[in-house]
Homo-oligomer: 218 residues x 2
DNA sequence: GCATTACCGTAACGTTCGTCATGCAAACTG
DNA sequence: CAGTTTGCATGACGAACGTTACGGTAATGC
């Protein structure tokens, strides 16, 4: 070999980051190699040098955006305890700035494109399971106390919080103009507190954690 | 004129329904006029006869799927009272059969394609506001009683329930194999009951309904 | 200093797809 | 029955795009 490939992966990341920006602004279906190259000030020859195909580029971009967000969420989970830990993760996830807004928009675009592929749907389900597991660990110490022998299913509770946060994040990320951060945070805290403070509700059934079966998938 | 156009709109609906099926299976980006025509046993000449362009066909399909779901939800709301009314609407929305699964998948695909267009994002926001308003009217008679002068903001509560139901529906619609109806319904009832039964939570702030400001947008 | 390899611009190719013009047969009108 | 309109097939056109081959340049190893 003659030339080092030290900044090779770094260059791939720069390209994928630009691709994510294009997706967030113009949409996944209008992401073309020519436009992306022009955005970076190069030509398509540069892109094909770092990625064997467009599919590989798009896949790398997807992994990058998802993994970055998940890593930051886990990092936020280490900086607090109990209820504040949950809040830290949630507020790390909410689209409070442009960077996170684009992340969520990219996610929405990718999920839309995953509709038509069984393989992509499976990959998405795996990612969701990771989120559910994370939120289950966050809400477990906060779960309502026992009541009449029925324990609250923390797996389901974590899943509910995760789905609510995801729904909020996507809705806020698509909203224009953006909702102020304070409003987003206040709304999230209020509604999550509702989910957590509830004792066993009237119409709601709770399963014993002993015979614990997850809602997600077998 | 010589030939009646009575079944003209009906024919457009058949085409759009087939388009929705293709989108749910193969994805929006792989919906081509040739394939859709082949699916219907005709050629592209038939499609261009009923729609001036592909965009028009896709737009009609979107409206059809969304309006049908919203209409059925409103219909379900008229068949019960109080808490059962909310349950009826939720269980009408959940992807309990193939028809509703495809509806949600089509919705996910369209929302993904709306990321890149400011106009489509606005249209989506308008549709979301309709859902929030519907759920606000559903949860208003079920809202927790006053407590210490702070009333629960029913607009925010309805929005939270709507977002949770949407998140559940999308997640379940993408899941393979499908989650049994009973599990979906049980999960929905449990978590919605949590949101409704909660008194004012510890960390949660509630605003007076007097100075009522919506979370969605100004 | 020479061969090799990384890096990237250029341009052409082939495919896919939406669109449109044309034509024809069936059905309705008068 | 003649004329007109509908319903749809056929085929071609042109644009967009991913891919690939080729070429040149600069940097590195020996």
């Amino acid at each position: 070999m003659s030339r080092p490939r030290g900044d090779h992966d770094e260059r791939r990341e720069v390209i994928s980051r630009a691709a994510a920006a294009v997706i967030a602004e113009r949409g996944l279906e209008r992401l073309t190699l020519r436009d992306l190259a022009a955005e970076l000030g190069v030509t398509t020859g540069a892109l094909t040098h770092y990625f064997p195909s467009k599919d590989a580029l798009v896949a790398h971009t997807k992994e990058l955006v998802f993994d970055a967000r998940y890593a930051r969420a886990r990092l936020a989970a280490e900086q607090a305890e109990g209820r504040e830990r949950l809040h830290a993760v949630v507020e790390e996830l909410l689209p409070l700035d442009d960077e996170r807004r684009t992340s969520w928009r990219v996610l929405v675009a990718f999920r839309g494109s995953a509709v038509g592929s069984a393989e992509l749907r499976r990959a998405h389900a795996v990612r969701m399971r990771r989120w559910f597991a994370l939120f289950e660990s966050l809400v477990t110490p906060l779960a309502p106390a026992d009541r009449g022998g029925a324990r609250t299913d923390v797996a389901e509770l974590g899943m509910a919080v995760a789905l609510l946060v995801e729904g909020m994040a996507i809705h806020f990320a698509m909203l224009e103009p953006p909702l102020p951060s304070s409003r987003q945070v206040a709304f999230a805290r209020t509604q999550i507190a509702r989910l957590l403070s509830a004792a066993d509700a009237g119409g709601g059934r709770t399963t014993r954690t002993a015979g614990r079966r997850r809602v997600s998938a077998p």
